[in-house]
């Protein structure tokens, strides 16, 4: 059986601050000419080699991906995870042929399509029908194939009445439905999904994932880039872990998720990077340098029974004095639902001025969260929640209960019942 995708020695070099002309011809020529007059018997480098060596040595260039080797089989769903800047999106971009590799090669069989393309190429002035043909051709369908599937696509999108109306008059819901309907009728052999870039609401994302699962079951290969470890665990048979453009792990899901958790420990939370203007915790005025999840007695734990209390012990370091720091501990579920926050300032802990190193501890009320995987979010605000000093990833923990799963919602609280 042939592999669906074979990647060998793949690398991509980028220039900081965007691509420009790739270097100085004069410098290359001088270095090359110098090589011509060398008499030590070593082979003379070609102009191309000289150019490559100079770019590799230059601090302006970096490898977004390097020495990637992997194979994916038909019927396989492959997760791609890793911290920010690991090269996940670059890998998808090369696979979808938007950007060429700098080194190595990829060979794949069949039709490849990516879900982030939903709706690209639609033209506002054209009708629904015309756009189906336009979008379908752009995504690689033949006109005969589109004609054959037209009725199905229209029915799937539920836009029968508006098929000859220009799409600029469509509601956004109709627009997305039509775009997805075209994509869903592509029958690709390889599907690429970038969860971060796949626009749309939760409902739409679920639809995409359902689509991916159906495709996988019909023997297509699916590659998913995701930050949602819950989804990765639920869907993928195999996970690739990338860090700094290198392939660190290729194999079982649990190991890869473990690596991800270890690497993202105490990292600045993705949502806060924009607000703080940095992804580097050492640049924040006050940060957490350690976090411990403990049970009531003070023993380290990552699995808690429903109704147990949790101690979180936080070590902070203030690089500059911070007045009235408001330490916060929050829980978010693995599908990124933000469940609750405990605020030190709101609960009455006053620290007039934080300087140097210090430790704070919070004992939560009995955990009412339903059984699931949660992420501990730790942050420091000012007392009015106006200024954010730091927001970091504190680690993951499980809540266990035989009955109260997420079918019961976010939390379970007993109520008072009686018969009348």
């Amino acid at each position: 059986m042939n592999a669906a995708i074979t990647i060998t020695g793949l690398g991509k070099r980028y220039r900081y601050g965007g691509a420009r002309s790739s270097g100085n011809l004069r410098e290359d020529l001088t270095a090359w000419a110098r090589g011509l007059f060398r008499r030590d018997g070593r082979s003379r480098p070609t102009l191309h080699q000289v150019h490559e060596q100079r770019l590799d040595a230059s601090p302006e260039y970096f490898w977004a991906l390097k020495d990637i080797n992997l194979q994916a089989q038909p019927g396989e769903m492959l997760g791609i995870i890793g911290p920010n800047g690991a090269g996940k999106s670059t890998l998808l971009k090369i696979l979808s042929r938007i950007t060429p590799p700098t080194a190595g090669r990829i060979e794949y069989r069949g039709r490849l399509t990516s879900l982030l393309e939903v709706g690209t190429g639609f033209h506002r002035e054209l009708t629904g029908r015309e756009n189906i043909f336009l979008n379908g051709s752009i995504l690689g369908m033949s006109r005969a194939e589109i004609t054959r599937k037209l009725d199905q696509i229209v029915a799937f999108a539920e836009i029968e009445k508006f098929i000859d109306t220009p799409v600029k008059f469509y509601s956004s819901g109709m627009y997305v439905r039509l775009a997805f309907a075209v994509a869903a009728h592509l029958d690709p052999d390889i599907l690429l999904i970038d969860e971060v870039l796949a626009v749309g609401d939760l409902h739409f994302q679920r639809k995409c994932m359902g689509f991916a699962r159906r495709l996988r079951d019909s023997n297509a290969t699916v590659l998913v880039v995701s930050h949602n470890m819950f989804a990765v665990k639920a869907m993928c048979d195999r996970v690739i872990y990338l860090r700094g453009g290198r392939l660190i792990h290729d194999g079982d899901v649990q190991t890869a998720i473990g690596l991800y958790e270890k690497d993202s420990h105490l990292e600045i939370a993705p949502w806060a990077q924009g607000i703080l203007g940095t992804s580097d915790a050492s640049k924040c005025p006050i940060v957490f340098t350690d976090v411990r999840m403990l049970d009531e007695q003070g023993n380290p734990r990552t699995v808690f029974e429903f109704g147990e209390r949790m101690r979180v012990r936080l070590t902070y370091e203030a690089r500059e004095p911070v007045a009235n720091p408001n330490f916060c501990v929050g829980f978010s579920r693995s599908d990124n639902v933000h469940c609750c926050v405990h605020s030190a300032f709101v609960d009455g802990l006053r620290i007039p001025l934080a300087t140097g190193r210090g430790v704070v501890e919070v004992l939560t009320p009995p955990l009412k969260l339903t059984a699931e995987l949660y992420t501990l979010n730790i942050g420091i605000w000012d007392s009015e929640f106006k200024r954010l000093y730091s927001a970091q990833v504190g680690g993951n923990f499980h809540v266990r209960h035989a009955l109260f799963s997420t079918h019961f919602g976010v939390f379970y609280e007993p109520a008072q019942w009686k018969t009348l």
């Binding site: 042939n2 060429p100 090669r105 990829i106 069989r109 069949g110 393309e117 054209l126 015309e130 336009l134």
Partner: protein, 273 residues
């Protein structure tokens, strides 16, 4: 099962894949031609009438200013016909070149998200413009017929002249389109460039009035050969074969150079757009 697709850092493998893609994406070419034509006339009140009005108004204005007032000689042709014979091919050329120059930027949303041979976009623009040209050309023939200047050679030799024009337009358009993807200055320079090019093409004056030396430089511009050929076809039913072949050679050269330049930048386009 389909043949394997190769994504490689190796130039030779990349070229082989590119040639296969050109064939695989041939239907997309027609889809783009259709899209461009449909979109162009969708929200215009006058629609196709613009295609007739544009060269007619332009020739009318030239005829009035340069013919009647400045008394520019017209190689023995009726003044209006003299100008229409030039504005019909020139307008199509100028429009396609400017549109191709903007085409990478205009389709940036597509180019940064989906792969297809980028050359399909300017290719479709040049091909789609043939519709406009045909309408203008029919107008030119109608006017020639009415003025008693029509010759069958007009019909016989137009395909050759059109080929020269299309090659040159695609060649220049490809180069400008690739440049504009990187340097947006090009967008501002194009209208100016087209004006200069129009002066370097005998649109408002007859080439025959220029000194021999200047003519030799002038005919390095393939459009100069094309325009002159149309006029002489209308006047005598013949054209200067050496001149037209010279223009054809330059047109093909321009296309080859444009394609080469475009190809060398095509791969990086998504990164710089």
């Amino acid at each position: 099962m389909n043949a394997a697709t190769i994504i490689s850092a190796d130039q030779r493998e990349r070229l082989r894949q590119f040639l296969r893609d050109l064939w695989d994406y041939r239907e997309l070419f027609w889809t783009f031609v259709e899209r461009d034509i449909k979109v162009r006339y969708k929200q215009t009140a006058l629609g196709v009438i613009w295609v007739i009005l544009q060269p007619l108004l332009m020739s009318g204005a030239f005829a009035l200013i340069f013919g009647k007032i400045a008394r520019m000689p017209t190689d023995g042709l009726p003044i209006l016909l003299f100008y229409l014979a030039a504005t019909v091919p020139w307008n199509t050329f100028a429009t396609t070149v400017s549109q191709s120059a903007m085409s990478m930027e205009a389709n940036a949303g597509l180019i940064t998200k989906i792969y297809f041979p980028r050359v399909v976009i300017p290719g479709a623009i040049v091909f789609g413009s043939l519709l406009d040209f045909t309408i203008g050309w029919a107008l030119l023939n109608g006017l020639a017929l009415w003025m008693g200047h029509w010759r069958w050679q007009m019909v016989a030799l137009t395909p050759l002249l059109l080929l020269i024009q299309s090659c040159a337009a695609l060649g220049v358009g490809l180069a400008l389109g690739a440049l504009n993807a990187q340097y947006r200055d090009v967008k501002h320079a194009v209208p100016f460039l087209m004006q200069v090019l129009m002066l370097a093409t005998p649109v408002i004056y007859p080439a025959s009035r220029l000194p021999e030396v200047v003519q030799r430089v002038l005919f390095l511009n393939p459009m100069a050969g094309v325009v002159t050929a149309y006029r002489s076809l209308l006047e005598t039913g013949a054209m200067d074969t050496a001149l037209v072949l010279n223009s054809l050679a330059i047109g093909i050269l321009l296309l080859a150079a444009g394609l080469w330049f475009f190809r060398s930048r095509e791969a990086r386009m998504a990164d710089i757009l």
